[in-house]
């Protein structure tokens, strides 16, 4: 459950709606009823406003903190740190990006093995986004030229299939043609 919430774009969309929809409902209710409806001043005492104010701010803080704390386990930063600390052997996949293609050392990958992707750009800003065969973005990396170390993270694939790599940092007139593939195979095959 939490995984499809934090690890998909639609989960993000859901979170956005979770904040937006109740807000809009209350906002339109207040604005419409206090202008088109009865616009006379409210007789509610000041103390009830203060109570509402506290409750609202409390609610916002609780939701914000909860959503962000629960997200920690799903951050690629966390997965990467855990994999590095575990001492487990990582499969290295390095790549370079140059307008408008990639050069990837190893494009055949096994399911279930932690892979460390490390990439550099040789000219301008590029991205390295891995798309699941079903079309969803697994992760994207930003490659900035001129840095000493590569951009890198550790990812473990769950499903076999052909994954598309796309550049998500605008890099000029053929940006949309900057594409490659990774083939993920079942363990041991």
């Amino acid at each position: 459950m939490l995984e499809s919430f934090y690890l998909t774009g639609w989960g993000a969309f859901g979170m956005m709606l979770f904040m937006l929809v109740p807000f809009m409902a209350v906002f339109f209710y207040v604005v419409i009823s206090k202008s088109y409806g009865d616009s006379s001043p409210s007789k509610a005492p000041q103390s009830s406003f203060v109570k509402m104010e506290r409750a609202w701010i409390g609610l916002v803080i609780v939701v914000f903190v909860a959503v962000n704390i629960a997200s920690i386990d799903f951050m690629p930063t966390t997965a990467t740190a855990k994999a590095m600390a575990s001492g487990e052997k990582l499969t290295e996949v390095s790549f370079t990006a140059e307008s408008w293609s990639y050069d990837i050392t190893e494009t055949k990958i096994e399911v279930g093995k932690p892979i460390r992707f490390s990439g550099k750009s040789l000219d301008t800003m590029h991205g390295f986004a891995v798309y699941h065969p079903d079309g969803k973005v697994l992760f994207t990396m930003m490659l900035m030229p001129g840095l000493e170390g590569p951009t890198s993270l550790v990812h473990t694939f769950k499903d076999a299939g052909t994954y598309t790599v796309r550049c998500l940092e605008y890099c000029g007139n053929s940006h949309h043609e900057m594409r490659d593939e990774l083939v993920v195979v079942a363990a041991g095959s």
């Binding site: 998909t8 993000a12 104010e53 701010i57 969803k136 973005v137 000029g172 053929s174 043609e177």
Partner: protein
């Protein structure tokens, strides 16, 4: 007669919309702002068409270069000479009338020239192929010369334009605002509705001006070095430090992010100042000044370092700790927004609201602004950033925040309009604009966010590649709604009627102080 008044008089159509009355004694606060507002709408007219053109270019396969050209011109024109210039015009007008200082002399003229000439030069460069997007994606401008996408001269032209625009945003406009707030003699005849810094509406303007200067200066230094080197005045290797992508990118995004926050502070303070004038019981006060000011301060403090959220996916070149910091600070700005929401709703609940189109438009802009805020918080979370960064979600966010702020300003403009031009607008057309533009903007925003959720890349000339064409079509439909709304708005400005010709409106200027 002021130069601005003369220029306005020569503008076809737009003089009908924003021409000022040279005889009403208020030219000194009206003319330059009116000219800036008029020019901002000229940019909107052209760049809005380019927005509609983008989905059409993809639908009819008119070529990727044309798409990237339209994208760059659309984004750059709407962010700077439209949104920023609209804000500059209205906020200067507001400041003038609140503190009783004229907007005359060299500085307003320079503000106008730098913004419009700079944007025009950049546009010419874009038409010559300089398709680098509105954030320039440094070092793309230089790499593009190396791999033959555009010429060196085009690059120099484009950067010259950008430098002029930045000079206006980072120094000229904030200095003009601060000058009016703190220096010069107050002129009683120019005071329309006196306010002091004690007022949240004024405080926000001052903070915003300071943010622009402070956060913009590093970028200004770097950009100046690069420009001087491009002109060949100093050798390129002397500026090697400034041309390092990481230096440029970080300076750029500390500014770009805080630019957005400064514009938000400015417009929220505009709402804080305007809303009380439309309360049904005539109270003229916000629910709580304390809460309103707290929102501004929280926004200010959290915004400084939330820009790290632009670089979360650079791991480990952006250390994870800074990514978390950006994440937390961004959600902190959300707390500020929550306070603004409460202040506005409690004010309306307590005192009731007059249903005038101006304030309604501004409030609808605020709704769009909250939608944008929600989308911004989500994509600042480290887990979600790795899936959304570089997708259409981000374009949805950029475009929505600018639309929201512009719409709030249009609402405030509705309020200023009678003083600015001596004419009055139709309420019916105002309402139609409000409905259509809100529907279009919310729709376009949601469609772009949904496209991003589905993995649709931003700034991408081939939406069909991953089956995202349908989002493009929906952007076209919702964009057309916005366009119709804007046409109605333009018609409303065109057909505005002289105050003294409208029965019962003799008191309008006072009501609109």
């Amino acid at each position: 007669m002021l130069a601005a008044t003369k220029i306005l008089q020569r503008l076809p159509f737009f003089n009908r919309m924003f021409g000022v009355d040279a005889e009403d004694g208020l030219q000194e606060i009206n003319s330059w702002p009116a000219l800036m507002i008029a020019s901002s709408f000229i940019w909107l007219a052209v760049a809005g068409l380019l927005g509609v053109a983008m989905p059409l270019i993809q639908r009819f396969d008119l070529g990727s270069e044309l798409f990237y050209m339209a994208l760059t011109a659309h984004g750059a024109a709407l962010a700077f000479p439209f949104s920023f210039q609209l804000m500059a015009g209205i906020s200067l007008h507001r400041a003038g009338g609140c503190v009783g200082k004229p907007i005359t002399g060299v500085l307003p003229a320079l503000i106008f020239i730098c913004m419009n000439l700079g944007a025009a030069l950049l546009t010419v460069a874009i038409l010559l192929g300089f398709s680098v997007s509105l954030v320039v994606m440094y070092p793309l401008p230089v790499v593009g010369v190396a791999n033959g996408q555009w010429s060196f001269n085009t690059l120099v032209l484009g950067f010259t334009g950008i430098a002029l625009v930045l000079t206006m945003m980072i120094y000229l406009y904030p200095v003009q605002l601060l000058k009016m707030m703190f220096f010069g003699k107050k002129r009683e005849d120019l005071i329309l509705s006196e306010r002091t810094l004690d007022d949240p509406g004024m405080l926000g303007m001052v903070i915003a001006a300071l943010v622009l200067i402070v956060m913009g200066t590093p970028l200004m230094i770097i950009a100046s070095y690069v420009l001087v080197a491009l002109y060949g005045i100093i050798p390129l290797d002397v500026v090697a430090w400034a041309t390092k992508p990481v230096v440029f990118q970080f300076a750029f995004f500390t500014f770009a992010h805080n630019l957005m926050e400064a514009m938000a502070l400015m417009v929220i303070s505009g709402i804080y100042a305007t809303l009380p004038l439309y309360l049904a019981d005539g109270t003229r006060e916000l629910y709580s000044k304390r809460l309103a000011n707290a929102a501004l301060w929280i926004l200010l403090i959290t915004s400084f370092s939330s820009f790290f959220h632009h670089f979360i996916t650079l791991l480990p070149n952006l250390p994870a700790s800074l990514a978390y910091h950006g994440n937390i600070m961004s959600w902190g700005t959300g707390i500020g927004a929550a306070l603004s929401i409460f202040t506005i709703l409690a004010t309306i609940w307590k005192h009731g609201l007059r249903k005038e189109p101006g304030i309604m438009i501004a409030l609808m802009g605020f709704v769009i602004y909250v939608m944008d805020g929600a989308s911004a918080l989500v994509t600042s979370n480290v887990a979600w950033s790795f899936q959304l960064h570089g997708t259409m979600w981000q374009s949805g966010h950029t475009m929505t925040v600018l639309i929201a702020m512009s719409m709030m300003w249009i609402g405030v403009l509705y309020h200023h309009y009678p003083v600015l031009t001596g004419r009055t607008l139709s309420a019916k057309q105002g309402n139609w604009f409000m409905v259509l533009f809100t529907a279009g903007a919310l729709g376009a925003g949601l469609v772009m966010l949904a496209g991003g959720a589905a993995g649709m890349p931003r700034r991408f000339a081939d939406w069909a590649q991953g089956g995202w064409a349908v989002y493009g079509d929906l952007i076209l439909v919702t964009g057309l709604l916005m366009a119709v709304g804007l046409i109605i708005l333009a018609a409303n400005f065109m057909k505005s009627r002289k105050l003294d010709e409208v029965p019962g409106s003799a008191s309008a200027p006072e009501a609109a102080e």
